[in-house]
Symmetry: C2
Subunit: 209 residues, 2 copies
């Protein structure tokens, strides 16, 4: 929820924002940048996408791009409306007591999904990745570089990438069965019912214990 | 792989089948039945779908339907080209030493996916369920009735349905990350690398140990 896009959406009193005056061209410029970014990421993938090309496509200066979005990964998150900030996820997983990391991850994930906007966007991304190879490729590159690689680097187990990816696979599968296929009783199970079942899975994947 | 549809597809020397003579109308009748079944299941869901209505839609006798497909669930599997036979899955999970059920499930699932035709069909079903609510609903009804309920009935743990569904969610998520998003190193990991990591997850979900 801290991508540039979400931060803007989360600003106080959002309702009147569409009507009050803004710096001329601000909203249009932002929309043009995001559209150009989506086209560039789709055409060239995350790694090869060029901030210069995105700026050019939106008819803005590259410096403006950096001013608004900070970096390529911020821009990517905003363009794909990525529902969570990988940096925050990494900090949450690796920070705190490693002996209860499984429970922490379970509560974090289930808590995120209780926010309808986050859940809706996550499901849209899963659907898009499931049906569009270009999105799957973006998710793949981005997930590995920005999320999985960084979590794995902080783990003290063998095969940390593989284990992190198994955790991610359990999370994605949970989203599929709970929210997309909506199988009962999993679809209606509470966080308190699910945490004791999920926490040991995450704990073992991430710590081997 | 033992649904009526797959069994037919697996018959020896499939190549010339389209050209050699068959009982007049056989292939056409079968295609008409499957089309009628897909329409009826999509329109009314698994539970409410009527074998009589399917027969009528295909212009055949209801007795012929039973002769060809045996039962509604067989017909459903054939119509959706379901890649595995739930009965076989249930027998595999519940049969044998319960102390190593986790490893058995892990090897069974990973082995199934090494068959390209099974994998392709599974991914098609996941994609369809992710994007089409009618398919998600069919999967939901069918999975609960034919697969999850029957496995859960044989388990000796609290919340057997929930635990079976968590196992299914890990399996579906694994398919997503390994075969759809194709995240490395999980995408290229061997069965022997994955079994030791997955088996304890399945074991704990199914037995509590």
């Amino acid at each position: 929820m801290t991508s540039a896009d979400r931060s803007a959406a989360d600003a106080p009193s959002p309702a009147p924002r569409k009507k009050v005056g803004r710096r001329p061209g601000g909203a249009d410029t932002r929309a043009a940048v995001l559209e150009s970014a989506r086209a560039e990421f789709a055409a060239r993938g995350y790694e090869k996408a060029s901030m210069r090309a995105i700026a050019r496509g939106a008819g803005v200066d590259a410096a403006l791009l950096h001013h608004y979005f900070g970096s390529k990964d911020r821009l990517f998150l905003a363009a794909l409306e990525f529902p969570v900030d990988p940096e925050q996820v990494v900090a949450h997983v690796l920070g705190g007591d490693r002996g209860v990391v499984g429970e922490r991850v379970a509560r974090f994930v289930l808590g995120l999904w209780e926010q309808p906007a986050v859940l809706e966007r996550l499901l849209a991304l899963i659907r898009a990745a499931a049906t569009t190879e270009a999105v799957a490729q973006l998710m793949r590159e981005f997930a590995v570089g920005q999320l999985i690689g960084r979590i794995a680097a902080g783990l003290e187990v063998e095969d940390p990438e593989l284990r992190t990816e198994l955790m991610v696979s359990q999370i994605i599968g949970l989203a599929m069965v709970r929210y997309v296929i909506k199988v009962e009783p999993l679809a209606s199970a509470t966080t308190e019912e699910l945490v004791p079942l999920l926490a040991p899975t995450f704990q073992r994947y991430l710590t081997g214990a």
